[in-house]
Amino acid sequence: MGPCFRKDDEGRGGVTTTTHHSSKPAAFGRRLVIAIPYLWLAVFFLVPFLIVLKISLSQTAIAQPPYTPLLDLSGGLAALKDFLAALSFDNYALLISDPIYLLSYLRSLSIAIVSTALLLIIGFPLAYGMVRASRAAQAILFMLVVLPFWTSFLIRIYAWKNILEREGPLNQILVVLGIVSEPPVWLSTDSAIYIGIVYTYLPFMVLPIYATLEKLDQTLLEAAADLGCPRWKTFWLVTLPLALPGVLAGSLLCFIPIVGEFVIPDLLGGSENLMIGQTLWVEFFGNRDWPAASAVAVVLLFLLTAPIVIYQHVQARELEGGR
C-alpha cells in the first residue's frame, strides 16, 4: 500500500490528486501490514529469548516448572529488588567448571568449520558446472539440486543409516570392489556425521554460489581471454572474487545451523563426544535442568551473534540491493 503514498507525495505539486481521499485509511492499512507480522515475531521470537536469558540466571528448583518463578511486576519495586537479588550466575559457573560443556562447544565449532570447508570443496565445482551448462539444462539441474531440499531432512539422514549399516550397501560395494577386505564400521563415527552434514547442507551451499555465478558478467571472462589470460588465471582473478558474496552467504547459511545441529550427530554419530545441540537436548530432556539448558543456549547464541549479523547483512543486500 506504499505506492499510494508515494503518489500523494509526488502529486502534491499538481497532477495527481486522486488518492487523496484514501490517505488516512491507507496510512492505517500500511501500519497494520507492518504491525501484524512484527508483533507476531516480537512475541514468539524475540520475547522467548529474553525468557531464556532470565531462566539461565535463575536457580534450578525441583518443581514444575523446574526453575524459580519469573518476575511478577504486580509486586512493584520490592518485587523487582527480590528479583534482582535472586539472579544467579551459578549456571554459567557450571558451564565453565565442567569441561563437558567447553568440549561440546569446541567440538561443534570444529565440526562446523571442517564441514563448511568440505561443503565448499564439493559445492563450488557443482555450482560452477551448473552455470556452464546450457540454459535448458540449467533449469533442470537447478530443479534437481533444489528437490532434495524439499524432501524431509529426517528421512534423508535416516536413509544414510540404511547405507552405512555394517552389512549395508556401502560396505558391500567396498568389499566387492576389493577396496577393503573387512567391512569398516561407519555408524557412530565422525565420518558418518560429516557425510550426513555435507549431504544435508549441500543445496544450501550450492544455491547461493550458483546465484552469484549466474549473474556474473560473461563479457568480463571474454575480455580476459581476449587479452591472453589463461583460463585458470581468469578463474582465480575474475570469477572467484566476483563469486565471493555467494561463497560467503552459502558458508554462513551452512556454518550457523551446523554449530547447533542435533539430529545428524544424534542419529549418525557416537554417544561419547556430544555436539552442543545434543548437550542442550540432554540437559533439557534428560536431566530436566532447564536453567542449565538455557545457559547453554545463551552462550551458543552469543557465539553465533557475529556470523548471524554478517549473514543478515549479506542476505538483505542480496535481496534488496541488486535491483
Partner: protein
C-alpha cells in the same frame, strides 16, 4: 563462452549422484521382503501393508498433515504481510530490527528456537499440544514465505499498481485486483514450502509438543534411534513421493504464471 568441460560434467554427475543415491536406496529397501538391511529377500509390499495396521502411525500422519496445513496457512498470511512491509512499507523506524527478526529464524539453530518457545509457553501457562506446535511452526516458517514473496514483489513492474491508483482505484482494491494476482504464484509456492517444512520438523516440535500430539517426525525419530526399520522405509517412501508430486506441481504453477506474465499489460488495460 558457455562451454561445459569434462570437469564440469563430472562434478555435476558426482554431486547429483551423492544427492539422489541415498534416497534411491531407501525407496528400494522399502520394497525389500526381508526384514534385514543388506539381505535382499525379493520385492514385496508387506511393509506398506504393515503401516495400515499401525493406528499410532496413522494417527501421527493425520496430526502432522493437519498441523502442516494450519501452520503453512498462518505462515503464508504473516509471511506475505511481512514481505509487503519490507518491500512497500517504506523506511519505517526500527526497520532494521524488523528485517533482522524476519531473517533470523532462517539460520537460528533449532534447539535454541525450540527451547525458547517452550519456555514462553510455560511462562504463559499455556497447555502444550497441537496448538503450541502450530504457533512454533508458524514462527519458524513464515520467514521462508517472506523471502519467496519478497523476491516476487521486487521483481514485477510497479507501474501497474500506480496506473490503477492514478485511475482512482483505492489502495485496498488495487492490492486485491492488481498486486495479489501478480504475487499469487509466489504465495502458492511459499505455502507449499511452508507445508513441507512443517511436515519435516522434529526438533522444534519435540520441544513444544504435549500429550496426544505426537507428530510423524517425532514418531519416526523415536523408532529410528534404535536402528533401521523396514516400516519406516515404507512411510518415508510415501512422504518422498508426496513431496515430489507437490514440488513438481509447484514448479509447473510458477512456469505457467511466468508465461501468463507477458499477457499482463493487456489485462491491466481492462
Amino acid at each position: 563462452m558457455r562451454r561445459a568441460s569434462w570437469f564440469n560434467l563430472v562434478s555435476i554427475a558426482l554431486g547429483l549422484a551423492f544427492l539422489y543415491l541415498p534416497i534411491a536406496v531407501l525407496v528400494i529397501f522399502s520394497f525389500n521382503a526381508s526384514a534385514l538391511v543388506g539381505v535382499w529377500g525379493g520385492w514385496s509390499t508387506r511393509w506398506y501393508a504393515a503401516l495400515l495396521d499401525d493406528p499410532d502411525m496413522l494417527d501421527s500422519v493425520s496430526i502432522s498433515l493437519r498441523l502442516a496445513a494450519l501452520s503453512a496457512t498462518l505462515a503464508t498470511i504473516l509471511g506475505t504481510l511481512g514481505a509487503l512491509a519490507l518491500v512497500r512499507g517504506g523506511r519505517f523506524r526500527t526497520r532494521v530490527l524488523f528485517s533482522g527478526l524476519t531473517y533470523a529464524p532462517l539460520v537460528m539453530p533449532e534447539v535454541i528456537t525450540g527451547l525458547s518457545l517452550l519456555l514462553l509457553f510455560v511462562a504463559l501457562d499455556i497447555d502444550r499440544g497441537f496448538w503450541t506446535i502450530a504457533i512454533a511452526h508458524t514462527t519458524l516458517i513464515m520467514c521462508f514465505v517472506t523471502i519467496v514473496v519478497q523476491a516476487r514483489l521486487l521483481g514485477f513492474d510497479r507501474d501497474l499498481e500506480e496506473a490503477a491508483m492514478d485511475l482512482g482505484c483505492p489502495p485496498v482494491r488495487t492490492f486485491l485486483t492488481v498486486t495479489l494476482p501478480l504475487i499469487a504464484p509466489a504465495i502458492a509456492s511459499g505455502w507449499m514450502l511452508a507445508f513441507t517444512l512443517s511436515l519435516d520438523d522434529l526438533v522444534i516440535a519435540s520441544f513444544t509438543t504435549g500429550p496426544g500430539a505426537t507428530t510423524l517426525p517425532i514418531r519416526i525419530y523415536s523408532q529410528v534411534r534404535l536402528g533401521v526399520k523396514p516400516e519406516i522405509n515404507a512411510i518415508c517412501t510415501i512422504i518422498i513421493a508426496l513431496v515430489a508430486v507437490t514440488v513438481v506441481a509447484a514448479s509447473l504453477i510458477t512456469k505457467l504464471a511466468s508465461q501468463r506474465e507477458r499477457a499482463v499489460p493487456l489485462a491491466a488495460q481492462v
